[in-house]
Every structure is written in C-alpha cells, then in structure tokens.
Symmetry: C2
Subunit: 160 residues, 2 copies
DNA sequence: AGATAATGATTACAGATCAGAACGATTGTC
DNA sequence: GACAATCGTTCTGATCTGTAATCATTATCT
C-alpha cells in the first residue's frame, strides 16, 4: 500500500489539505489587512455579519459560534458597543440575557465591509477564470459541507 | 455597478476566499489534533519537514520561514533538541550560526508524520472523487502560486 | 410557595505567550 | 586594528488566554 517516500512527501506538502491550510492563513491575513482600514478585526467583522444574519441572539451563543469563551466575549462586545456599531438590549422574556443587534451605524459599516469583501474575493482568485472560480467555489463548498462546517461561521478566530 | 445586497452578502460568506479561510482553519485544527498523538504541534512538524527538505540552514532563516521572531525560535528548537529529534551543529565556516539537522530519531518520526499527513489528506477531501480531488489541488496550487506563497512553507503559525 | 439548582453576563485572577530591546560572541569592513 | 554588523540567546514588559468566583435572574422540585 505504501508508495515511495518521494511521492508521500510531495503529497503532504503539496496536497490539498496543506494548500487549504496555507491558503486559508494567507487569505485570512490579507482580509485582516484590508479591513484594518475600517478599524475592524476579522472576529469583529464576523460578529457584524452574524448579527445581520440573525439578530437578537444571546452573547453566549454568539461567543460559541465565534469559538471564544463568554468571558472574553464581554470586552469584545464592549468595544463594538462603545463605537456605536452594536447594541445590547435586555431580553424581555429572560432578563438575564442580552440580545445583540446592529445599530444604524453598524448596518452602514457592514455595507462597506461587503465591498471590501468583494474586492478581497477578486484579489485572492485573480489567478482563475470565471469558470474556474465557480468550479473552485463548488468544490470548496462540497468539502466544507461534508466536513460539517456551518456556512458563514468562522471559528478559530484569534482576537487582536 | 452594484448588484443587490442579497447577492453581495452570499458572495462574501459563501465566496471562495471566505471558504478558504474557513476550511483552512478547519484543516489546520484537524491536523493539529492528529499530530498531537505524536506529541507534535504544527510548527514543530513544519520545522521537521523543512529540515528534511533543506538541512543545515541557520536558525534565523528557519525562523523567518516559519514566521516567528528569532527570540521565540530558541525555546522552540530547544524542546525538539531536548527530545532528540533535531541537532544543533556549529557551522565551521561561521561559528556564530548554528546549522540545524534532523537526527535519526527525527527522520523516523518524520516518516510517521507523513503517514498521518496522508490520512489527513484523505479525510479532508472525503467528499471528492479522485478526479475532483486532483482538480481541486490544481486550482489551489495555481492560486497559491499567483498569490506568491512559497511551496511547502506555512507561516502565520501560532505556537502552542 | 419556598428552597435549591441552573443559566447568562460579568469580573477577578493567574498563567502562558508575544515581540522587541539588550547582551556576548564572532565575523566583515575600512 | 578599530568599528559596525550579524547570529544566537536572554531579559523584560506588555498582552492575551482560559478558569474560577460572583451576581442577578430563571427554572425545578417538593
């Protein structure tokens, strides 16, 4: 069953899994640099998108989706609230929990964020034709689904 | 110029760049869990592979390729040396620099590491046929090359 | 109803991790 | 032969991290 070592070695370093990790780190870093112009970090952008998709969720659930402990979520949300991008409202049904919403300014910033994201997408896939770009997206989506990843959610963030 | 917001939104969260970041983080984490059985972290595995590819390099250059400052490389190499996997030899041409090499045990561990890497590759791409797997690899390699990434080198590591 | 357990947000804290400056040893330059 | 530059290393201060304790509120159980 074992091919020779040369084959195995090139498989590991040039295989799809390694390329995914390498390109993923690269894409994440490039995206972080882009949105730095909006004074946002990737996890902050992630929260804004999550709030746009499903508003009014509790901090605990949001923290879990972002892959951070609830204790760390507090100062994280504090800053965004201090900048007037998100809003904590008391949940009338359960006054322990805070329901998070985007403010008007948050919605505006999210619009800019989407433009930056589109530019990022174009830049990362500059090597591909339109057809290949679609092809790649389809393949990646299939892999992501089979691996059990939640669409639109990017855990494993490191705060900054 | 602007498509409607629905389109932009799905582009950003389901686009290739986002999927790359998401899948990259996933693949990296899964790989980290796998090689934990060998008592290795991803940056440690990266160093072993780099030493197998080009032995005898200086610590400074290795540190740069791994994306870590030289000061942090010292305890990093210390542990691997303490476990008898790598070896520091004095460079006779320049006695300031240390040339790093794999030991015999390091070579043995690297062989196991390749098996784990191959299993990881199979697992991550379980959703794809052989043809699609090849297709994906080709596309990723093209993107990686155009983005200026060095083959086989994975910076942006976080130590652990 | 009343005591008790469980949950959400927050704070406190202690340990790990980080990058940059400072330091000897060695080498290149003038 | 003095002076600057480089490599590895150590030191240090700041930052980041997750766990545990805390307070308010809600669910559960008798």
């Amino acid at each position: 069953m074992s091919t020779n070592q040369q084959t195995d070695r090139s498989r590991n370093q040039g295989g799809a899994a390694f390329l995914l990790a390498q390109l993923g780190a690269h894409a994440a870093r490039a995206f972080a640099e882009r949105i730095a112009s909006l004074d946002l970090t990737p996890p902050q952008a992630g929260l804004l998108r999550m709030l746009a998709a499903t508003p009014g969720r509790s901090q605990r659930r949001l923290a879990e989706d972002l892959g951070m402990p609830p204790s760390r979520f507090v100062p994280f949300a504090d800053e965004l609230e201090g900048r007037g991008l998100i809003e904590r409202r008391k949940n009338p049904d359960d006054r322990r929990s805070h329901a998070l919403y985007l403010t008007e300014r948050g919605v505006e910033l999210l619009a800019e964020l989407r433009e930056v994201g589109a530019a990022h997408e174009r830049d990362v896939c500059a090597a591909l034709s339109s057809d290949e770009h679609r092809q790649l997206t389809v393949l990646l989506r299939r892999v992501a689904e089979q691996q059990g990843l939640t669409p639109g959610v990017h855990p494993g963030y490191r705060s900054s």
